[in-house]
């Protein structure tokens, strides 16, 4: 945990400093003796810097190898990283491909990552779930899910 606390403190110190620099650029349009738009961000900046510095000191004073949360097993971590990668790709292609074409493979990929290995179940599960969700939200609840390249083909 020591290393993590130090990393977190340094990242947050950088974030606080960046936030403070951006705060200096905020417009000061206010009556005299009254707080303007930068007032609250300044309070936040001071709090972030002070608390990050405290965390850094705490991290440096911690014993080397102090206990932290138990890490996930390597296989689980790998699956989690894959899932995140699939998620990012899904969101990148969703506006262009449309809900149905993007969601079905995404759903199938997640099913596999969650341990479903039977191909027929994966394909059917992904297609049926995507279809139900599309019909339910697009036509049941009027959420304008993107049709993408299937525009004019799917209702």
């Amino acid at each position: 945990m020591r290393r993590r606390n130090i990393i977190a403190a340094l990242v947050l110190l950088a974030f606080g400093a960046g936030y403070g620099i951006l705060t200096t650029q905020l417009p000061v349009r206010s009556l005299p003796d009254t707080p303007g738009p930068p007032f609250f961000p300044w309070i936040n900046t001071i709090a972030i810097l002070a608390l990050s510095a405290t965390l850094l000191v705490q991290g440096l004073m911690e014993k080397v190898g102090a206990d932290g949360p138990v890490p996930a097993p390597a296989a689980g971590r790998q699956r989690a990283i894959w899932a995140l990668a699939v998620f990012v790709v899904y969101l990148a292609v969703l506006p262009g491909l449309g809900f149905i074409l993007a969601t079905a493979p995404f759903f199938a990929a997640l099913m596999v990552l969650f341990g479903e290995t039977r191909p027929l179940r994966v394909v059917l599960g992904a297609l049926i779930a995507t279809g139900i969700l599309y019909l339910l939200f697009r036509h049941g609840f009027n959420v304008f899910l993107p049709t993408g390249v299937l525009k004019g083909i799917v209702p």
Partner: protein, 502 residues
């Protein structure tokens, strides 16, 4: 009876609203009992639906889920020794030993009965206390409101499980995030970087979906342990007369503790459940049976965690202060429908406010009926394959973020907050303070600046009103209490590490 109360009863008792309440309870019971799913995850699943449904139906659905989720958590606690929700942790202490000796049905029957009574006690508190508190809150001035919201913010300290500094940092990051967009007092833009999508700020529901659901999905993936199979066959779940006699006192303790702690922002279900369990054990004549399957050990925490629900709705409805993540989400859902919780809700939309209270009443009734009658079906749902459930949750997160404003920008913001949530989990930093700061940040800044503007920058305005002074004192007490608790934790950790090294 006032016209608002009658209108509220009529609103909550409409056929569609009742049907939705029952559906919400069913979903809540299901979500609550599936390990790895929380009530917050359940609400995230339903959020996109609530955007398009009328306000009364949406809130009935979410309240049903809230109430059902609390009871559902106890099912997996009793049957699998895995609490479905943190609030059901204390129930597992005696519920699972009962299940292990073949009395799962008896334990669940007691849990359901205790949940029902706890819920009804908290309904009565909500019905009678909320309007009175709203009346008092109407006389609050800006400085009082600031002090009140500041007190709400100090709840952050109580969520700082391991490190107070990390909890506070999480909260301050949330306060920094709410400064993105239009300044609440003067309307000038801050930190928008020329992005039109940022002018309206970051919607806290988008952030919440990312912060809660994505780390939950990833953690379920990382968890390689396969879902446990239920070995127990359920016999009768109706409690025996002797059991009902035995649980009278534990239920009384649990219900009152839960309702009271629910009103206090930040205390929440798990604390209420453990306090009432501990107190019931202390006064019990059969103290030695606790932990080995005592019916009292199931009844006290279950009544307490359900009593918390109504209690937590009191500060949410009357002051606009969320006591836990679920009430924070409920505030978001109300705001989506143009209904800002707070003292004005009872004067301007009294019919809706009482409608909400009576929907809570029905949610408890349905919870009792559905849990008792559909228990066998519900227990079978514990075997729902995660391979189907979790991808559905992932897609619903995307739909939820998109449906908020029909905008892909919100979906990317959701993913960003998902990554932030993962990073926070890696750093052992609590996300609840960030969420509460997202809800309370704007009123905190607005009231602070308006009060200081009216006093021309003189901070003594915050000490000029007894209400403000009272809330600031409570805030100080809350911080001191958290600091002392943090110190105790540190000392006990140090002493245990010394013991292990010697």
């Amino acid at each position: 009876m006032s016209p608002d109360v009658l209108a509220g009863i009529a609103q909550a008792s409409g056929f569609l609203v009742l049907l939705t309440t029952a559906l919400g309870v069913f979903i809540g019971l299901t979500v609550g009992m599936i390990p790895g799913m929380t009530i917050s995850t359940g609400i995230i699943i339903l959020l996109p639906v609530t955007f398009v449904l009328p306000a009364d139906i949406s809130i009935a659905l979410l309240l049903g889920l809230y109430v059902g989720g609390m009871t559902g958590g106890s099912f997996s606690a009793v049957l699998l020794n895995i609490p479905g929700t943190p609030s059901a942790s204390a129930t597992a202490l005696d519920g699972y030993p009962m299940s292990a000796r073949g009395e799962a049905g008896r334990a669940l029957g007691i849990a359901i009965t205790a949940s029902f009574i706890g819920g009804m006690v908290s309904f009565l508190c909500l019905l009678f206390i909320a309007p009175l508190l709203a009346d008092v809150a109407l006389s609050f001035r800006t400085e009082d409101m600031f002090a009140l919201v500041f007190f709400g913010i100090t709840i952050i300290c109580s969520f700082a499980a391991q490190s107070l500094v990390k909890g506070l940092l999480s909260g301050v990051i949330g306060l920094a995030i709410v400064t993105i967009g239009q300044d609440p007092v003067m309307g000038s833009q801050r930190f928008t970087f020329g992005q039109v999508n940022l002018i309206g700020g970051i919607h806290f529901l988008t952030a919440m979906i990312g912060l809660f659901a994505i780390p939950q999905l990833v953690s379920n993936l990382a968890d390689t342990t396969s879902a446990a199979r239920i070995q127990t066959k359920l016999k009768s779940v109706l409690p025996r007369l002797a059991d009902l006699r035995a649980i009278r006192m534990p239920i009384t303790i649990g219900s009152l503790t839960g309702a009271f702690l629910g009103i206090l922002p930040g205390a929440g279900g798990p604390i209420a459940a453990f306090i009432s369990y501990d107190y019931t054990r202390r006064i019990s004549k059969r103290r030695e049976d606790f932990g080995k399957g005592a019916v009292e050990g199931v009844a006290a925490p279950e009544s307490a965690n359900n009593a918390v629900t109504g209690g937590a709705l009191i500060p949410m409805m009357t002051l606009g202060i969320p006591g836990d993540p679920v009430t924070a989400i409920l505030i978001g859902a109300l705001i989506i429908h143009g209904l800002a919780p707070g003292p004005l809700m009872f004067t301007e939309r009294g019919d809706f406010a009482f409608g909400l209270i009576f929907s809570f009443f029905w949610a408890n009734i349905f919870n009792f009926i559905i849990a008792l009658t559909a228990l066998r079906v519900l227990v079978k749902l514990l075997a729902t394959p995660r391979a189907l459930l979790m991808p559905t949750v992932a897609v619903l997160c995307v739909i939820g973020a998109f449906a908020l404003r029909n905008n892909f920008f919100d979906v990317y913001v959701m993913l960003f907050f998902g990554l932030v949530g993962l990073a926070m989990r890696w750093l052992d930093m609590p996300v609840v303070p960030l969420l509460l700061a997202l809800v309370l940040g704007v009123p905190l800044e607005e009231n602070l600046r308006v009060a200081l503007t009216s006093s021309q920058g003189d901070i003594s305005i915050f000490f000029s009103s007894p209400i403000s002074v009272a809330f600031l004192s409570l805030s100080a007490l809350s911080i001191i209490w958290s600091l002392r608790a943090a110190r105790r934790r540190r000392m006990s950790a140090q002493s245990s590490s010394k013991e292990s090294s010697s």
